[in-house]
């Protein structure tokens, strides 16, 4: 090997390492932007006393994209059970949008404490995620930190469940047909964790992991309701999936036994309507790490 060949080799190795290094350099975002709560130590029990609710309707402006047919020929079981399987990223009925995750991102409870300063008890019941017809049900859901998530397989084929969080531990587990439920939990708050099945790449779900129970998912009618909200002033965020997920924040004031309204709108030329007592915050752009 002559000298020039050696030089070329060294250059090639150095540039290769550079390319790898630059590609692997993405850092995780700060937890405070992903967890739906401020990064303060939570010690106090949630306030007792009368609470209120935050409810509203999620609208979709414009013509929603038509659901796309999914080709299930790779696994005949899927086609047999669910012959008309389509995408469910935009479910709109009478102009109302389903599967929007609405949660209290931050705020101050009457009395001066921040929401994140309270420690909310972890529910003992498990939240269900079923794989049925090669489709996740529900498509969007919320759990609290460390709350059990029970995953079942109702199909006569095997799936694998693969959440791809940024803050929590990633895992990937196969679940054969007839296998017992898989029980998991997430240790850190994160909005929202995509879940996919690597056997059936069209299967997608999203799990919001929260430090508090103040969240809800819009139903097929676009309606949602967050119950047991302590009186205070909050920033409520509506999150919608997409290639770049959309988040719409709104300032909401909740009174004891009161019912605050917060309607959100997505889609073309969407605006957010608010009740007279509510103020709308300007839209906030959230940089999506690793997405361009």
């Amino acid at each position: 090997m002559n000298k020039q060949t050696k030089v070329w080799l060294v250059i090639s190795i150095a540039l290769s390492l550079l390319a790898l290094g630059s590609a692997c350099g993405g850092a995780r975002g700060p937890e405070t932007n992903k967890n739906g709560g401020e990064a303060t130590s939570a010690t106090a029990a949630p306030p007792s006393g009368p609470t209120g609710t935050i409810s509203g309707v999620i609208s979709y402006n414009g013509t929603p994209p038509a659901p796309k047919k999914i080709d299930t020929t790779a696994d005949p079981v899927c086609g047999q059970k669910n012959p008309n399987l389509t995408t469910d990223d935009t479910i709109v009925k009478d102009g109302k949008l389903a599967n929007v995750f609405v949660y209290i991102k931050e705020g101050t409870v009457d009395g001066g404490k921040k929401v994140a300063e309270y420690t909310w008890p972890t529910p003992t019941n498990a939240v269900q995620l079923d794989q049925n017809g090669c489709h996740y049900a529900p498509h969007v859901m919320g759990v609290m930190v460390n709350q059990k998530l029970s995953i079942t397989n109702s199909d006569a084929t095997q799936h694998n469940i693969h959440p791809t969080p940024k803050l929590n531990q990633e895992w990937n587990q196969t679940q054969a047909n007839g296998a017992p439920p898989i029980e998991k939990s997430f240790a850190r708050a994160e909005v929202l964790i995509p879940v996919k099945c690597n056997q059936h790449p069209w299967m997608k779900a999203y799990i919001g992991v929260m430090k508090h129970p103040l969240f809800a998912v819009s139903s097929d009618t676009g309606a949602y309701e967050i119950k047991n909200v302590p009186p205070g002033k909050y920033t409520v965020v509506a999150w919608r999936e997409g290639q770049t997920p959309e988040e719409k924040p709104m300032e909401v004031t909740v009174t004891a036994n009161g019912a605050a309204k917060a309607d959100f709108a997505f889609g073309g030329a969407a605006t957010t309507s608010i009740a007279p007592s509510l103020k709308m915050m300007p839209a906030i752009e959230f940089p999506m790490i690793g997405k361009h």
Binding site: A19, L20, K68, I70, A74, T87, Q158, P201, K291
Partner: protein, 316 residues
């Protein structure tokens, strides 16, 4: 020359090319984690190959076959080949295929970290390069080749070819990094796309220069012009496939699943990239074969075709 060994080396190289296609299909179908375990698939040697498990387990089966073929190749070379450096290359091929298998397992167990997946894809190309090189070194054309006169022109062809080879290898690494940095439903990182496009220009210039120089300077030397023509042809196809792959991949995040046009074109782009690489390797190796490394060695060399043959007989 052992014709059986050469044919067998060609077989292993072809099988390796097929393995690269199988691996590319895994990536394009987003099937890399269709099973979380390794080396078994869902705890089985032969699982039911439905859904994406077809691609992932199929890739493992092809890889196992290539691994076996490589073991036999290394043994075959050890038994039949007298040239020590070829025997060492056979051993390197064996070590490379073992490392490649371990990297494949590692990428599954670690859930496709970019660095490991990229290393797996890069080593695949290097292993392909090795098997093709073994096929070249055991071929009759290699044995029969006679050194030419000293190089025409001021810039030695072998340096041009080496530069093209290194450029292509770097481009392969960038391509592998780009490919593994986002799944079909995510947008590819813009900076890597730009780097890959820049790399395409660099490869076009480097390989174009090497090939055209070969064709102009040594138009009567088929030993050189053939791989130059082949490399140039693959490059043209590859540029076309690159544009097509970009278009289909750009639309992919809006699709409900990885669609066949995107899969077919991106896999073809990977495969053609491998062919550009190995055809350039063949050209480069041949330039080093026929052009002595230094002027002194040209002058002192007393090679001739007959001398080459007689020494070859003595070697074998």
């Amino acid at each position: 020359m052992n014709r059986g060994l050469n044919r067998y080396a060609i077989l292993v190289a072809c099988a390796t090319f097929f393995l690269i296609i199988a691996g590319a299909l895994v990536t394009s179908n987003d099937a890399g984690l269709a099973t979380p375990d390794w080396p078994l698939s869902n705890g089985q040697v032969f699982p039911k190959m439905v859904g994406n498990l077809f691609w992932e387990h199929g890739h493992r089966m092809v890889a196992t076959t290539v691994g076996m073929l490589t073991i036999v190749l290394a043994f075959y070379i050890y038994k039949k080949e007298k040239r020590d450096w070829v025997r060492k290359l056979g051993l390197f091929a064996l070590l490379a295929v073992i490392a490649q298998g371990l990297l494949g397992g590692l990428t599954v167990k670690l859930m496709l970290p970019l660095a490991v997946s990229t290393a797996h894809a890069t080593l695949a190309q290097l292993f392909f390069c090795t098997t093709v090189s073994l096929a070249v070194f055991t071929s009759r054309s290699w044995m029969d080749a006679r050194p030419l006169q000293e190089e025409k022109g001021t810039l030695p062809l072998r340096y041009l070819c080496t530069a093209a080879l290194v450029t292509i290898f770097l481009q392969l690494i960038i391509g592998a990094t780009l490919r593994h940095s986002a799944t079909w439903d995510q947008h590819l990182p813009a900076e890597l796309i730009l780097a890959h496009i820049g790399g395409a220009f660099a490869v076009t210039i480097a390989l174009g220069s090497a090939s055209v120089t070969t064709l102009r300077r040594y138009k009567d030397e088929k030993f050189l012009t053939r791989p130059a023509m082949v490399a140039l042809s693959f490059l043209a196809v590859q540029l076309f496939l690159g544009v097509a792959a970009y278009m289909t991949r750009l639309a992919s995040p809006g699709d409900p699943q990885p669609l066949n046009p995107m899969i077919a074109i991106t896999v073809a782009h990977v495969a053609c990239g491998a062919l550009v690489f190995v055809s350039t390797i063949v050209l480069t190796l041949r330039t080093y074969r026929v052009f002595p490394a230094t002027r002194h060695s040209v002058q002192s060399s007393s090679f001739s075709l007959s001398a080459s043959k007689s020494s070859l007989k003595a070697e074998l």
